[in-house]
Amino acid sequence: MRLSDLLGQEVVTEGGEHLGRVRDVRLVQDGPLLGTWGAAFRVDALIVGRGAVLARLGLTRDTPSEPDLLQRPFGPFRRRRPVPVPWDRVVEVGDVIRVTDDPTRRSPGG
């Protein structure tokens, strides 16, 4: 699998709710050891939401810090800030990425 198989993909819950597209993928450095580098980056969460262009420009970036630029002129767009979907909710990566329903609304699955 490649990163590009995830980026831009539609994310749909098992209940059929469309969450938006994958804007970015959050990695955490706690995977297996690799060569002289150290711990590998493991996929932690999919950052899902709308506003592809703004996300790409880094204007709706979640971490680690935001460009000052978005503070004022792009302020209105921040309401549509993308949300992280933890990887353990991913059921299948295919034509769309199917994930379990939001555990904060139902009991956690899979």
Partner: protein, 191 residues
């Protein structure tokens, strides 16, 4: 060709391709060659680029186009005469400069030959326009006559300059003055 040429610039409002990366997965490069792949959103951009390139390269934007009516024919005649006056006025500045020994011979020759080309180009573009009426025929003959006088004067200047004989330029001044007066009178009549 003036009316029909406002090209529609197809797809100009197509906008930029969005973030559809990763639409096709697990397809290697060879399959990519023939298979139906993601919707090609950059097409709008591509078409616009082609349209612009065409616009630029075929130079379809020209100052003098065809004439439908006597009115527009006369407007084109005036534009042509004004181009002639512009070249003549430039040339008379060159004569002044040469008189006061402020110019270098090669520069003078190049500039005068460009002015000659300008006048000749304007005249030949105008002569290529179909006159819409008998009255326009007379306008045409009249203007081309006056332009020919100007072209003769400019040619004489160019010949002297190419020979490095900048002092001789002043001799052409009366003929040039005369040509300008003729063209100015023409503009007056038409205007």
């Amino acid at each position: 060709m003036s009316q029909g040429r406002r090209s529609r610039l197809p797809g100009w409002h197509g906008g930029w391709p969005g973030g559809r990366n990763g639409k096709e997965r697990d397809i290697d490069a060879t399959i990519l060659l023939r298979s139906e792949v993601a919707p090609a959103r950059p097409r709008g951009v591509g078409r616009a680029a082609v349209a612009i390139a065409l616009l630029v390269t075929c130079g379809c934007i020209q100052p003098v186009g065809p004439a439908r009516t006597s009115e527009s024919y006369r407007a084109k005649a005036t534009t042509t005469a004004e181009a002639g006056i512009s070249a003549a006025e430039s040339a008379s500045l060159v004569i002044d400069g040469a008189d006061e020994e402020r110019l270098l011979p090669p520069y003078t020759a190049v500039l005068l030959s460009e002015l000659e080309d300008d006048a000749g180009g304007a005249a030949s573009t105008f002569s290529g326009i179909q006159p819409p009426s008998a009255e326009a025929d007379r306008v045409r003959a009249d203007l081309l006559d006056r332009m020919a006088d100007l072209q003769d004067a400019l040619a004489e200047l160019r010949i002297d300059a190419r020979r490095g004989d900048l002092e001789a330029l002043a001799d052409v001044r009366p003929a040039l003055r005369d040509a300008v007066d003729q063209l100015e009178a023409f503009v007056e009549e038409q205007g």
